[in-house]
Symmetry: C2
Subunit: 284 residues, 2 copies
Protein backbone atom coordinates (compact mmCIF):
# COMPACT_ATOMS: atom_id res chain seq x y z
CA UNK A 1 0.00 0.00 0.00
CA UNK A 2 1.59 3.28 -1.04
CA UNK A 3 1.68 6.10 1.47
CA UNK A 4 0.71 8.85 -0.93
CA UNK A 5 -2.76 10.31 -0.55
CA UNK A 6 -5.24 10.43 -3.39
CA UNK A 7 -6.69 13.93 -3.53
CA UNK A 8 -10.42 14.37 -2.98
CA UNK A 9 -12.59 15.87 -5.71
CA UNK A 10 -13.56 19.52 -5.48
CA UNK A 11 -17.15 18.62 -4.62
CA UNK A 12 -15.96 16.54 -1.68
CA UNK A 13 -13.68 19.30 -0.42
CA UNK A 14 -16.34 21.98 -0.72
CA UNK A 15 -19.06 20.02 1.06
CA UNK A 16 -17.02 18.97 4.07
CA UNK A 17 -18.12 20.87 7.19
CA UNK A 18 -17.01 21.08 10.78
CA UNK A 19 -17.58 23.00 14.00
CA UNK A 20 -19.02 26.42 13.32
CA UNK A 21 -21.16 25.31 10.39
CA UNK A 22 -24.00 27.76 9.73
CA UNK A 23 -26.77 25.72 8.13
CA UNK A 24 -29.01 28.73 7.53
CA UNK A 25 -26.23 30.37 5.49
CA UNK A 26 -25.95 27.43 3.10
CA UNK A 27 -27.89 27.87 -0.15
CA UNK A 28 -29.83 24.62 -0.43
CA UNK A 29 -30.32 25.12 -4.16
CA UNK A 30 -26.61 25.65 -4.91
CA UNK A 31 -24.40 23.16 -6.73
CA UNK A 32 -20.94 23.61 -5.15
CA UNK A 33 -18.09 22.33 -7.30
CA UNK A 34 -20.28 21.67 -10.32
CA UNK A 35 -20.85 24.19 -13.11
CA UNK A 36 -23.23 22.25 -15.31
CA UNK A 37 -27.01 21.98 -15.41
CA UNK A 38 -29.28 19.05 -14.59
CA UNK A 39 -28.59 17.22 -17.84
CA UNK A 40 -24.84 17.59 -17.35
CA UNK A 41 -25.14 16.43 -13.75
CA UNK A 42 -27.09 13.34 -14.71
CA UNK A 43 -24.57 12.59 -17.44
CA UNK A 44 -21.68 12.93 -14.99
CA UNK A 45 -23.42 10.55 -12.60
CA UNK A 46 -24.07 8.00 -15.34
CA UNK A 47 -20.48 8.28 -16.49
CA UNK A 48 -19.03 7.67 -13.04
CA UNK A 49 -21.37 4.83 -12.07
CA UNK A 50 -19.25 2.11 -13.62
CA UNK A 51 -16.14 3.17 -11.69
CA UNK A 52 -18.02 2.95 -8.39
CA UNK A 53 -19.32 -0.49 -9.38
CA UNK A 54 -15.83 -1.65 -10.41
CA UNK A 55 -14.19 -0.37 -7.24
CA UNK A 56 -16.86 -2.04 -5.13
CA UNK A 57 -16.09 -5.32 -6.86
CA UNK A 58 -12.41 -4.86 -6.03
CA UNK A 59 -13.31 -4.05 -2.44
CA UNK A 60 -15.37 -7.22 -2.26
CA UNK A 61 -12.60 -9.26 -3.87
CA UNK A 62 -10.10 -7.85 -1.38
CA UNK A 63 -12.28 -9.00 1.49
CA UNK A 64 -12.07 -12.55 0.16
CA UNK A 65 -8.30 -12.17 0.45
CA UNK A 66 -8.60 -11.12 4.10
CA UNK A 67 -8.86 -7.34 3.72
CA UNK A 68 -11.28 -6.11 6.40
CA UNK A 69 -11.98 -2.70 4.91
CA UNK A 70 -15.38 -1.43 3.87
CA UNK A 71 -17.36 1.78 3.45
CA UNK A 72 -20.26 3.14 5.49
CA UNK A 73 -22.49 5.87 4.12
CA UNK A 74 -24.60 7.49 6.83
CA UNK A 75 -27.63 9.37 5.45
CA UNK A 76 -29.47 11.88 7.61
CA UNK A 77 -32.05 14.36 6.42
CA UNK A 78 -35.38 15.97 7.00
CA UNK A 79 -38.33 14.11 5.44
CA UNK A 80 -38.56 14.31 1.63
CA UNK A 81 -34.92 15.42 1.32
CA UNK A 82 -34.17 12.49 -0.96
CA UNK A 83 -32.49 9.70 1.01
CA UNK A 84 -34.45 7.12 -0.89
CA UNK A 85 -33.47 8.61 -4.23
CA UNK A 86 -29.81 8.52 -3.23
CA UNK A 87 -30.03 4.83 -2.45
CA UNK A 88 -31.96 4.07 -5.63
CA UNK A 89 -29.94 6.17 -8.07
CA UNK A 90 -26.44 6.24 -6.55
CA UNK A 91 -26.08 3.05 -4.53
CA UNK A 92 -28.32 1.32 -7.07
CA UNK A 93 -25.54 1.30 -9.66
CA UNK A 94 -23.50 -1.09 -7.51
CA UNK A 95 -23.95 -4.87 -7.57
CA UNK A 96 -26.61 -5.44 -4.87
CA UNK A 97 -24.53 -8.32 -3.49
CA UNK A 98 -21.98 -5.74 -2.41
CA UNK A 99 -24.40 -3.45 -0.62
CA UNK A 100 -26.03 -3.73 2.79
CA UNK A 101 -28.77 -1.24 3.58
CA UNK A 102 -30.07 -0.65 7.09
CA UNK A 103 -33.10 1.61 7.55
CA UNK A 104 -33.46 2.68 11.16
CA UNK A 105 -37.06 3.45 11.96
CA UNK A 106 -38.72 3.89 15.33
CA UNK A 107 -36.94 1.44 17.65
CA UNK A 108 -38.73 -1.77 18.62
CA UNK A 109 -39.34 -2.45 22.33
CA UNK A 110 -36.39 -4.87 22.26
CA UNK A 111 -34.15 -2.21 20.71
CA UNK A 112 -35.31 0.37 23.24
CA UNK A 113 -34.36 -1.94 26.07
CA UNK A 114 -30.72 -1.68 24.94
CA UNK A 115 -28.38 1.30 24.64
CA UNK A 116 -28.90 3.36 21.50
CA UNK A 117 -25.90 1.88 19.67
CA UNK A 118 -26.99 -1.73 20.13
CA UNK A 119 -29.12 -1.95 16.99
CA UNK A 120 -26.58 0.14 15.07
CA UNK A 121 -23.64 -2.17 15.80
CA UNK A 122 -25.63 -5.16 14.57
CA UNK A 123 -25.99 -3.56 11.13
CA UNK A 124 -22.42 -2.43 10.56
CA UNK A 125 -21.33 -3.60 7.10
CA UNK A 126 -19.22 -6.73 6.70
CA UNK A 127 -15.74 -6.49 5.14
CA UNK A 128 -15.88 -5.74 1.42
CA UNK A 129 -19.35 -4.21 1.57
CA UNK A 130 -20.73 -0.73 1.03
CA UNK A 131 -23.03 -0.18 3.98
CA UNK A 132 -25.78 2.41 3.89
CA UNK A 133 -27.52 3.71 7.00
CA UNK A 134 -30.87 5.29 6.12
CA UNK A 135 -31.09 7.29 9.34
CA UNK A 136 -28.70 6.12 12.05
CA UNK A 137 -27.44 6.51 15.61
CA UNK A 138 -27.81 10.26 15.01
CA UNK A 139 -31.55 9.98 15.53
CA UNK A 140 -30.68 9.63 19.22
CA UNK A 141 -29.41 13.22 19.21
CA UNK A 142 -31.77 14.65 16.58
CA UNK A 143 -35.41 13.64 17.04
CA UNK A 144 -34.64 12.67 20.65
CA UNK A 145 -33.36 16.17 21.32
CA UNK A 146 -36.09 17.99 19.42
CA UNK A 147 -39.07 15.98 20.61
CA UNK A 148 -37.78 15.23 24.11
CA UNK A 149 -37.71 11.45 23.63
CA UNK A 150 -34.69 11.47 25.94
CA UNK A 151 -33.73 13.91 28.68
CA UNK A 152 -31.31 16.73 27.77
CA UNK A 153 -28.70 15.03 29.97
CA UNK A 154 -29.08 11.75 28.11
CA UNK A 155 -28.79 13.48 24.76
CA UNK A 156 -25.76 15.42 25.97
CA UNK A 157 -24.04 12.23 27.10
CA UNK A 158 -24.38 10.67 23.66
CA UNK A 159 -22.14 12.95 21.59
CA UNK A 160 -18.85 11.68 23.08
CA UNK A 161 -20.20 8.13 22.95
CA UNK A 162 -20.84 8.58 19.22
CA UNK A 163 -17.36 9.99 18.66
CA UNK A 164 -15.79 7.00 20.44
CA UNK A 165 -18.01 4.56 18.57
CA UNK A 166 -17.11 6.00 15.18
CA UNK A 167 -13.42 6.04 16.13
CA UNK A 168 -13.67 2.35 16.87
CA UNK A 169 -15.49 1.68 13.59
CA UNK A 170 -12.87 3.60 11.60
CA UNK A 171 -10.05 1.78 13.40
CA UNK A 172 -11.63 -1.53 12.39
CA UNK A 173 -11.20 -0.56 8.72
CA UNK A 174 -14.37 1.31 7.81
CA UNK A 175 -14.35 4.46 5.72
CA UNK A 176 -17.18 6.53 7.23
CA UNK A 177 -19.05 9.15 5.18
CA UNK A 178 -21.64 11.13 7.14
CA UNK A 179 -24.10 13.03 4.99
CA UNK A 180 -26.79 15.55 5.81
CA UNK A 181 -29.05 16.19 2.82
CA UNK A 182 -29.99 19.82 3.31
CA UNK A 183 -33.26 21.11 1.84
CA UNK A 184 -35.13 24.30 2.53
CA UNK A 185 -38.35 24.40 4.47
CA UNK A 186 -40.10 25.67 1.31
CA UNK A 187 -38.76 22.83 -0.81
CA UNK A 188 -40.07 20.31 1.70
CA UNK A 189 -43.49 21.93 1.48
CA UNK A 190 -43.48 21.62 -2.30
CA UNK A 191 -42.44 17.97 -2.11
CA UNK A 192 -45.11 17.09 0.44
CA UNK A 193 -47.67 18.90 -1.71
CA UNK A 194 -46.62 16.78 -4.69
CA UNK A 195 -47.10 13.61 -2.66
CA UNK A 196 -50.63 14.74 -1.89
CA UNK A 197 -51.37 15.54 -5.53
CA UNK A 198 -50.32 12.15 -6.87
CA UNK A 199 -52.22 8.97 -5.85
CA UNK A 200 -49.13 6.92 -6.69
CA UNK A 201 -47.24 8.93 -4.05
CA UNK A 202 -49.88 8.84 -1.29
CA UNK A 203 -48.19 5.84 0.32
CA UNK A 204 -45.11 7.98 0.93
CA UNK A 205 -47.12 10.63 2.76
CA UNK A 206 -47.48 10.61 6.52
CA UNK A 207 -49.68 13.19 8.27
CA UNK A 208 -47.06 13.36 11.01
CA UNK A 209 -44.65 14.94 8.52
CA UNK A 210 -46.72 18.12 8.60
CA UNK A 211 -46.59 18.22 12.41
CA UNK A 212 -42.80 17.91 12.32
CA UNK A 213 -42.57 21.05 10.18
CA UNK A 214 -43.40 23.13 13.27
CA UNK A 215 -40.05 22.01 14.71
CA UNK A 216 -37.95 22.88 11.66
CA UNK A 217 -35.70 25.39 13.41
CA UNK A 218 -35.21 23.04 16.35
CA UNK A 219 -34.14 20.29 13.97
CA UNK A 220 -31.68 22.62 12.25
CA UNK A 221 -30.25 23.47 15.64
CA UNK A 222 -29.99 19.80 16.56
CA UNK A 223 -28.12 19.11 13.30
CA UNK A 224 -25.81 22.04 14.00
CA UNK A 225 -24.93 20.74 17.45
CA UNK A 226 -24.49 17.18 16.17
CA UNK A 227 -22.10 18.36 13.47
CA UNK A 228 -20.32 20.57 15.99
CA UNK A 229 -19.81 17.76 18.47
CA UNK A 230 -19.15 14.77 16.19
CA UNK A 231 -17.08 16.09 13.30
CA UNK A 232 -13.70 14.40 13.33
CA UNK A 233 -10.96 14.00 10.73
CA UNK A 234 -11.73 10.31 10.49
CA UNK A 235 -15.51 10.59 10.33
CA UNK A 236 -16.30 13.98 8.82
CA UNK A 237 -19.72 15.42 8.04
CA UNK A 238 -20.78 16.58 4.60
CA UNK A 239 -23.72 18.94 4.19
CA UNK A 240 -25.19 18.58 0.72
CA UNK A 241 -27.50 21.19 -0.79
CA UNK A 242 -30.39 18.99 -1.82
CA UNK A 243 -33.13 21.16 -3.31
CA UNK A 244 -31.84 19.92 -6.66
CA UNK A 245 -32.10 16.15 -6.49
CA UNK A 246 -29.72 15.65 -9.40
CA UNK A 247 -26.99 17.61 -7.62
CA UNK A 248 -27.41 15.77 -4.31
CA UNK A 249 -27.10 12.46 -6.15
CA UNK A 250 -24.00 13.56 -8.01
CA UNK A 251 -22.49 14.83 -4.77
CA UNK A 252 -23.03 11.61 -2.81
CA UNK A 253 -21.76 9.65 -5.81
CA UNK A 254 -18.62 11.77 -5.72
CA UNK A 255 -18.12 11.21 -1.97
CA UNK A 256 -18.47 7.49 -2.51
CA UNK A 257 -16.07 7.51 -5.45
CA UNK A 258 -13.46 9.48 -3.53
CA UNK A 259 -13.79 7.14 -0.55
CA UNK A 260 -13.32 4.07 -2.72
CA UNK A 261 -10.41 5.58 -4.65
CA UNK A 262 -8.67 6.47 -1.38
CA UNK A 263 -8.52 2.77 -0.50
CA UNK A 264 -6.14 2.14 -3.42
CA UNK A 265 -7.62 -1.24 -4.08
CA UNK A 266 -5.86 -3.98 -6.00
CA UNK A 267 -6.98 -7.42 -7.08
CA UNK A 268 -5.89 -9.94 -4.44
CA UNK A 269 -3.02 -12.23 -5.39
CA UNK A 270 -3.96 -15.89 -5.87
CA UNK A 271 -3.22 -18.07 -2.85
CA UNK A 272 -2.99 -21.14 -5.08
CA UNK A 273 -0.52 -22.13 -7.81
CA UNK A 274 -2.23 -21.07 -11.02
CA UNK A 275 -0.26 -23.45 -13.25
CA UNK A 276 -0.93 -26.41 -10.98
CA UNK A 277 -4.63 -25.60 -11.00
CA UNK A 278 -4.71 -25.34 -14.79
CA UNK A 279 -3.32 -28.87 -15.00
CA UNK A 280 -5.71 -30.22 -12.39
CA UNK A 281 -8.65 -28.67 -14.20
CA UNK A 282 -7.50 -29.96 -17.59
CA UNK A 283 -7.44 -33.49 -16.16
CA UNK A 284 -11.13 -33.40 -15.22
CA UNK B 1 -58.54 -8.37 -6.20
CA UNK B 2 -59.93 -9.93 -9.40
CA UNK B 3 -60.18 -13.70 -9.59
CA UNK B 4 -58.93 -14.03 -13.14
CA UNK B 5 -55.45 -15.45 -13.62
CA UNK B 6 -52.73 -13.59 -15.49
CA UNK B 7 -51.17 -16.02 -17.94
CA UNK B 8 -47.48 -16.84 -17.57
CA UNK B 9 -45.07 -16.04 -20.39
CA UNK B 10 -44.01 -18.79 -22.74
CA UNK B 11 -40.51 -18.87 -21.22
CA UNK B 12 -42.00 -19.45 -17.78
CA UNK B 13 -44.28 -22.22 -19.00
CA UNK B 14 -41.52 -23.99 -20.92
CA UNK B 15 -39.00 -23.94 -18.07
CA UNK B 16 -41.29 -25.27 -15.36
CA UNK B 17 -40.37 -28.85 -14.45
CA UNK B 18 -41.75 -31.48 -12.16
CA UNK B 19 -41.35 -35.14 -11.19
CA UNK B 20 -39.76 -37.15 -13.98
CA UNK B 21 -37.45 -34.34 -15.10
CA UNK B 22 -34.49 -35.70 -17.08
CA UNK B 23 -31.69 -33.20 -16.55
CA UNK B 24 -29.31 -34.98 -18.93
CA UNK B 25 -31.87 -34.61 -21.72
CA UNK B 26 -32.05 -30.84 -21.38
CA UNK B 27 -29.86 -28.92 -23.82
CA UNK B 28 -28.02 -26.47 -21.55
CA UNK B 29 -27.24 -24.19 -24.51
CA UNK B 30 -30.84 -23.93 -25.68
CA UNK B 31 -33.00 -20.82 -25.38
CA UNK B 32 -36.55 -22.14 -24.83
CA UNK B 33 -39.25 -19.64 -25.66
CA UNK B 34 -36.88 -17.09 -27.17
CA UNK B 35 -36.02 -16.93 -30.88
CA UNK B 36 -33.55 -14.07 -30.86
CA UNK B 37 -29.80 -13.93 -30.47
CA UNK B 38 -27.68 -12.51 -27.65
CA UNK B 39 -28.18 -8.89 -28.68
CA UNK B 40 -31.93 -9.38 -28.88
CA UNK B 41 -31.93 -11.11 -25.50
CA UNK B 42 -30.02 -8.31 -23.85
CA UNK B 43 -32.35 -5.77 -25.43
CA UNK B 44 -35.40 -7.66 -24.17
CA UNK B 45 -33.93 -7.72 -20.66
CA UNK B 46 -33.16 -4.00 -20.73
CA UNK B 47 -36.63 -3.27 -22.02
CA UNK B 48 -38.34 -5.23 -19.27
CA UNK B 49 -36.18 -3.98 -16.40
CA UNK B 50 -38.28 -0.90 -15.73
CA UNK B 51 -41.47 -2.91 -15.36
CA UNK B 52 -39.86 -5.14 -12.74
CA UNK B 53 -38.60 -2.06 -10.91
CA UNK B 54 -42.03 -0.41 -11.07
CA UNK B 55 -43.87 -3.50 -9.87
CA UNK B 56 -41.42 -3.88 -7.01
CA UNK B 57 -42.16 -0.32 -5.95
CA UNK B 58 -45.88 -1.12 -5.99
CA UNK B 59 -45.22 -4.26 -3.96
CA UNK B 60 -43.27 -2.21 -1.43
CA UNK B 61 -45.98 0.46 -1.34
CA UNK B 62 -48.62 -2.21 -0.78
CA UNK B 63 -46.70 -3.49 2.23
CA UNK B 64 -46.93 -0.03 3.79
CA UNK B 65 -50.68 -0.39 3.43
CA UNK B 66 -50.63 -3.73 5.27
CA UNK B 67 -50.24 -6.15 2.35
CA UNK B 68 -47.99 -8.99 3.55
CA UNK B 69 -47.08 -10.37 0.15
CA UNK B 70 -43.56 -10.64 -1.21
CA UNK B 71 -41.45 -12.67 -3.63
CA UNK B 72 -38.68 -15.17 -2.94
CA UNK B 73 -36.27 -16.21 -5.67
CA UNK B 74 -34.31 -19.32 -4.73
CA UNK B 75 -31.15 -19.78 -6.80
CA UNK B 76 -29.39 -23.12 -6.91
CA UNK B 77 -26.65 -24.12 -9.31
CA UNK B 78 -23.30 -25.78 -9.81
CA UNK B 79 -20.31 -23.45 -9.37
CA UNK B 80 -19.79 -20.89 -12.18
CA UNK B 81 -23.36 -21.36 -13.44
CA UNK B 82 -24.03 -17.65 -13.02
CA UNK B 83 -25.95 -17.03 -9.80
CA UNK B 84 -23.93 -13.90 -9.15
CA UNK B 85 -24.60 -12.57 -12.63
CA UNK B 86 -28.34 -13.10 -12.15
CA UNK B 87 -28.30 -11.04 -8.97
CA UNK B 88 -26.16 -8.32 -10.53
CA UNK B 89 -27.91 -8.02 -13.88
CA UNK B 90 -31.51 -9.03 -13.14
CA UNK B 91 -32.13 -8.19 -9.49
CA UNK B 92 -29.76 -5.24 -9.86
CA UNK B 93 -32.32 -3.32 -11.89
CA UNK B 94 -34.59 -3.07 -8.85
CA UNK B 95 -34.26 -0.38 -6.17
CA UNK B 96 -31.84 -1.96 -3.67
CA UNK B 97 -34.10 -0.85 -0.82
CA UNK B 98 -36.66 -3.35 -2.08
CA UNK B 99 -34.30 -6.31 -2.26
CA UNK B 100 -32.95 -8.58 0.47
CA UNK B 101 -30.21 -10.98 -0.54
CA UNK B 102 -29.15 -13.91 1.61
CA UNK B 103 -26.10 -15.93 0.57
CA UNK B 104 -25.98 -19.26 2.37
CA UNK B 105 -22.43 -20.47 2.66
CA UNK B 106 -21.01 -23.23 4.81
CA UNK B 107 -23.04 -23.07 8.06
CA UNK B 108 -21.41 -21.54 11.13
CA UNK B 109 -21.11 -23.71 14.28
CA UNK B 110 -24.12 -21.87 15.72
CA UNK B 111 -26.15 -22.57 12.59
CA UNK B 112 -25.10 -26.22 12.62
CA UNK B 113 -26.34 -26.55 16.17
CA UNK B 114 -29.86 -25.83 14.93
CA UNK B 115 -32.07 -27.63 12.45
CA UNK B 116 -31.25 -26.90 8.81
CA UNK B 117 -34.17 -24.48 8.34
CA UNK B 118 -33.22 -22.25 11.30
CA UNK B 119 -30.89 -19.95 9.40
CA UNK B 120 -33.21 -20.00 6.40
CA UNK B 121 -36.25 -18.80 8.32
CA UNK B 122 -34.28 -15.88 9.72
CA UNK B 123 -33.61 -14.61 6.21
CA UNK B 124 -37.10 -14.87 4.72
CA UNK B 125 -37.95 -11.57 3.04
CA UNK B 126 -40.12 -9.00 4.80
CA UNK B 127 -43.47 -7.96 3.28
CA UNK B 128 -43.00 -5.87 0.14
CA UNK B 129 -39.52 -7.17 -0.58
CA UNK B 130 -38.00 -9.30 -3.31
CA UNK B 131 -35.91 -11.83 -1.43
CA UNK B 132 -33.09 -13.69 -3.13
CA UNK B 133 -31.55 -16.87 -1.73
CA UNK B 134 -28.10 -17.45 -3.21
CA UNK B 135 -28.05 -21.14 -2.32
CA UNK B 136 -30.66 -22.17 0.21
CA UNK B 137 -32.17 -24.93 2.32
CA UNK B 138 -31.64 -27.16 -0.71
CA UNK B 139 -27.95 -27.45 0.13
CA UNK B 140 -29.11 -29.78 2.91
CA UNK B 141 -30.27 -32.27 0.27
CA UNK B 142 -27.67 -31.50 -2.41
CA UNK B 143 -24.11 -31.24 -1.10
CA UNK B 144 -25.19 -33.06 2.06
CA UNK B 145 -26.40 -35.97 -0.03
CA UNK B 146 -23.49 -36.00 -2.45
CA UNK B 147 -20.67 -35.53 0.04
CA UNK B 148 -22.23 -37.43 2.92
CA UNK B 149 -22.38 -34.43 5.25
CA UNK B 150 -25.56 -35.96 6.64
CA UNK B 151 -26.65 -39.58 6.76
CA UNK B 152 -28.89 -40.85 3.95
CA UNK B 153 -31.72 -41.14 6.51
CA UNK B 154 -31.30 -37.50 7.55
CA UNK B 155 -31.29 -36.33 3.94
CA UNK B 156 -34.33 -38.48 3.19
CA UNK B 157 -36.22 -36.97 6.11
CA UNK B 158 -35.69 -33.44 4.83
CA UNK B 159 -37.70 -33.54 1.59
CA UNK B 160 -41.12 -33.59 3.28
CA UNK B 161 -39.86 -31.02 5.81
CA UNK B 162 -38.94 -28.72 2.92
CA UNK B 163 -42.33 -29.22 1.26
CA UNK B 164 -44.11 -28.32 4.50
CA UNK B 165 -41.85 -25.34 5.08
CA UNK B 166 -42.46 -23.94 1.62
CA UNK B 167 -46.19 -24.54 1.96
CA UNK B 168 -46.11 -22.43 5.12
CA UNK B 169 -44.08 -19.70 3.41
CA UNK B 170 -46.48 -19.58 0.46
CA UNK B 171 -49.48 -19.48 2.81
CA UNK B 172 -47.93 -16.47 4.55
CA UNK B 173 -48.05 -14.54 1.27
CA UNK B 174 -44.77 -15.33 -0.47
CA UNK B 175 -44.54 -16.09 -4.18
CA UNK B 176 -41.77 -18.69 -4.33
CA UNK B 177 -39.68 -19.18 -7.50
CA UNK B 178 -37.18 -22.02 -7.32
CA UNK B 179 -34.50 -21.92 -9.98
CA UNK B 180 -31.79 -24.36 -10.98
CA UNK B 181 -29.32 -22.78 -13.37
CA UNK B 182 -28.29 -25.72 -15.53
CA UNK B 183 -24.88 -25.68 -17.22
CA UNK B 184 -22.96 -28.49 -18.85
CA UNK B 185 -19.88 -30.04 -17.31
CA UNK B 186 -17.86 -28.76 -20.28
CA UNK B 187 -19.15 -25.21 -19.88
CA UNK B 188 -18.12 -25.25 -16.23
CA UNK B 189 -14.63 -26.34 -17.28
CA UNK B 190 -14.36 -23.45 -19.71
CA UNK B 191 -15.53 -20.96 -17.08
CA UNK B 192 -13.10 -22.23 -14.45
CA UNK B 193 -10.32 -22.06 -17.05
CA UNK B 194 -11.20 -18.44 -17.73
CA UNK B 195 -10.98 -17.64 -14.02
CA UNK B 196 -7.48 -19.10 -14.01
CA UNK B 197 -6.45 -17.12 -17.09
CA UNK B 198 -7.48 -13.73 -15.70
CA UNK B 199 -5.77 -12.29 -12.59
CA UNK B 200 -8.86 -10.15 -11.95
CA UNK B 201 -10.88 -13.38 -11.69
CA UNK B 202 -8.49 -15.35 -9.47
CA UNK B 203 -10.39 -14.31 -6.36
CA UNK B 204 -13.43 -16.17 -7.67
CA UNK B 205 -11.47 -19.39 -8.12
CA UNK B 206 -11.39 -22.03 -5.42
CA UNK B 207 -9.26 -25.15 -5.87
CA UNK B 208 -12.07 -27.11 -4.23
CA UNK B 209 -14.22 -26.41 -7.29
CA UNK B 210 -12.06 -28.77 -9.33
CA UNK B 211 -12.47 -31.52 -6.74
CA UNK B 212 -16.25 -31.14 -6.87
CA UNK B 213 -16.22 -31.84 -10.62
CA UNK B 214 -15.57 -35.49 -9.85
CA UNK B 215 -19.05 -35.64 -8.29
CA UNK B 216 -20.88 -34.04 -11.22
CA UNK B 217 -23.17 -36.98 -11.93
CA UNK B 218 -23.96 -37.37 -8.24
CA UNK B 219 -24.94 -33.71 -8.05
CA UNK B 220 -27.19 -34.06 -11.09
CA UNK B 221 -28.83 -37.03 -9.42
CA UNK B 222 -29.27 -35.07 -6.19
CA UNK B 223 -30.92 -32.23 -8.15
CA UNK B 224 -33.17 -34.72 -9.91
CA UNK B 225 -34.35 -36.21 -6.62
CA UNK B 226 -34.80 -32.77 -5.04
CA UNK B 227 -36.96 -31.62 -7.95
CA UNK B 228 -38.85 -34.92 -7.87
CA UNK B 229 -39.61 -34.66 -4.17
CA UNK B 230 -40.21 -30.93 -3.71
CA UNK B 231 -42.03 -29.74 -6.84
CA UNK B 232 -45.44 -28.48 -5.86
CA UNK B 233 -47.98 -26.30 -7.63
CA UNK B 234 -47.32 -23.52 -5.14
CA UNK B 235 -43.53 -23.72 -5.16
CA UNK B 236 -42.53 -25.08 -8.56
CA UNK B 237 -39.01 -25.64 -9.86
CA UNK B 238 -37.66 -24.06 -13.02
CA UNK B 239 -34.62 -25.54 -14.76
CA UNK B 240 -32.92 -22.88 -16.84
CA UNK B 241 -30.42 -23.72 -19.57
CA UNK B 242 -27.52 -21.51 -18.51
CA UNK B 243 -24.62 -22.08 -20.88
CA UNK B 244 -25.68 -18.81 -22.48
CA UNK B 245 -25.56 -16.27 -19.66
CA UNK B 246 -27.74 -13.78 -21.53
CA UNK B 247 -30.52 -16.34 -21.88
CA UNK B 248 -30.39 -17.39 -18.22
CA UNK B 249 -30.69 -13.74 -17.19
CA UNK B 250 -33.61 -13.10 -19.52
CA UNK B 251 -35.31 -16.25 -18.26
CA UNK B 252 -35.02 -15.37 -14.56
CA UNK B 253 -36.13 -11.83 -15.37
CA UNK B 254 -39.20 -13.29 -17.06
CA UNK B 255 -39.98 -15.54 -14.07
CA UNK B 256 -39.73 -12.52 -11.78
CA UNK B 257 -41.89 -10.39 -14.05
CA UNK B 258 -44.58 -13.08 -14.28
CA UNK B 259 -44.54 -13.52 -10.51
CA UNK B 260 -44.93 -9.80 -9.90
CA UNK B 261 -47.64 -9.42 -12.54
CA UNK B 262 -49.59 -12.30 -11.01
CA UNK B 263 -49.91 -10.30 -7.78
CA UNK B 264 -52.11 -7.71 -9.59
CA UNK B 265 -50.67 -4.90 -7.53
CA UNK B 266 -52.36 -1.57 -7.08
CA UNK B 267 -51.29 1.61 -5.32
CA UNK B 268 -52.65 1.56 -1.78
CA UNK B 269 -55.51 3.94 -1.04
CA UNK B 270 -54.66 6.83 1.29
CA UNK B 271 -55.70 6.25 4.90
CA UNK B 272 -55.85 9.99 5.48
CA UNK B 273 -58.13 12.69 4.09
CA UNK B 274 -56.17 14.17 1.20
CA UNK B 275 -58.03 17.49 1.17
CA UNK B 276 -57.63 17.96 4.92
CA UNK B 277 -53.92 17.28 4.62
CA UNK B 278 -53.55 19.78 1.77
CA UNK B 279 -55.03 22.46 4.01
CA UNK B 280 -52.89 21.49 6.98
CA UNK B 281 -49.77 21.59 4.83
CA UNK B 282 -50.71 24.92 3.28
CA UNK B 283 -50.97 26.41 6.78
CA UNK B 284 -47.35 25.57 7.64
Amino acid sequence: MADSQIADSEITRLLRVGPGVDLAAIDTSATPGFDGDKAAGEAALAEGAQEVADLQEQLFAASRGGDTRNVLLVLQAMDTAGKGGIVKHVVGSVDPQGVSIAAFKRPTPEEEAHDFLWRIRKRLPAPGMIGVFDRSHYEAVLIHRVRGLSTPEEVESRYPVIVDFEKEVVAAGTKVIKVMLHISREEQKARLAERLERPDKHWKYNPGDVDERAYWDDYMDAYRVAIERTSTDDAPWYVIPADRKWYARLAVHTLLLDALRSLKLEWPVAEFDVEVEKKRLAAT
